[in-house]
Symmetry: C2
Subunit: 228 residues, 2 copies
């Protein structure tokens, strides 16, 4: 967590967020602050509650995990404010997104150009996700997969695996990090070939190396191109 985010949460009179994320910051919420924690899928409602409270003059913090601007609540709050014509100051406080947090645990896989793709097809069509996977793999981007798999949604990762194998060798280093920065964090460097044999859930970030990514000790590194 950044120093700035910590200060913002500590000073908030109202805290709004998905219950799992609110729990993660519980210990730094001001005593007496109002807390609105809710379910996955109720994001629009939470944005509305936050704006209503802010209009009452309260200092409100809307919580995302990682960075609020990467598949997080920042856009939604700005959009709902615009739609409702709410004129209050809204500040987005950046954070450490799962891509770079996971990369740090795996070594340094993102030291060259990379693409970030969510495999969740709830809000983006699968055909567009597939197109992005092809494009990123063909242009030799390191690829970071968010929301790779859930209990009821196994197909996207299987399809992504097949697409990636069209462009990358089976021995391409792949990093898998579960619960990054949280209790029970697990980081593994494996190969593309083994991807489907690994434990992957919604709290997992997957990083697929490019053609130059290699294993250094137990870590994966994508060279920047320096002459060593």
């Amino acid at each position: 967590m950044t120093v700035e985010a910590k200060l913002a949460i500590e000073s908030a009179e109202v805290v709004v967020g998905y219950k799992t994320y609110v729990k993660l910051v519980e210990s730094i919420i001001k005593p007496g602050a109002e807390v609105f924690s809710g379910m996955m899928g109720k994001e629009v409602e939470r944005a509305k509650v936050a704006l209503t409270k802010a209009l009452e003059g309260k200092c409100v913090a809307v919580i995302s995990s990682g960075d609020p601007g990467v598949y997080g609540m920042a856009g939604l709050v700005l959009e709902v404010a615009d739609l409702k014509d709410v004129k209050i100051p809204i500040q987005v406080i950046p954070g450490v997104t799962a891509a770079t947090a996971a990369a740090a645990r795996l070594g340094a896989p993102l030291v060259n150009d990379f693409a970030v793709i969510s495999l969740s097809d709830l809000l983006t069509s699968w055909s567009l996700i597939e197109k992005r996977l092809h494009a990123a793999a063909e242009a030799n981007f390191v690829i970071v997969l968010y929301n790779p798999q859930s209990e009821g949604r196994k197909e996207p990762l299987m399809k992504a695996y097949e697409i990636l194998l069209k462009y990358r060798k089976p021995e391409t280093p792949v990093g898998i990090v579960r619960q990054v920065g949280r209790k029970g964090e697990q980081a593994t460097v494996t190969t593309l070939n083994e991807l489907l044999n690994c434990e992957v859930d919604m709290a997992t970030t997957v990083i697929v190396g490019n053609s130059t990514t290699h294993v250094v000790g137990k870590l994966m590194v994508t060279p920047r191109g320096y002459d060593l």
Copy 2:
């Protein structure tokens, strides 16, 4: 800066980094700590100094700005350690990379899939950079450009502009942030059409919206896809 990075710098007995970045953290370096600050282009030498000092038993912090794993020193230190067969614990501490820091100032442009591309062709061939620009633009990624332009290197941004215009409308929102998180920070939301008329230097991050990115007030937002 994250709480974790702050603690690491505060407790370091040796601090190594590019002089501009060392200056940014000067106030939190422990009194009496050894400081090795150096020139751009001397990254390999700095990695070697850091490892030598660590082998002497010192606690060493190697500084990057933003996130050390995104075009930063993390990979180089791991690679040099491997090459020299240096067996010491090395920890990569993630940070807030310019992409998400800039995004926060601009609104929420990264709330959907995005690609990060450095326009510096010092360490990556221009033909590969060009290929990545085409791929990312065609697959409708939001595109973040690092190292977009310097005094002596104007051509890459001009070429990138031409490539982007093949796939994106001239009125596509573009965000330009200089010196993000530092003194003199400037953030502007403009359009792709105006990109070459803006002040852009090596300390600038450029974010090019995808086909759905729109302007909300003075900010740019890429919708996640929620039904509002």
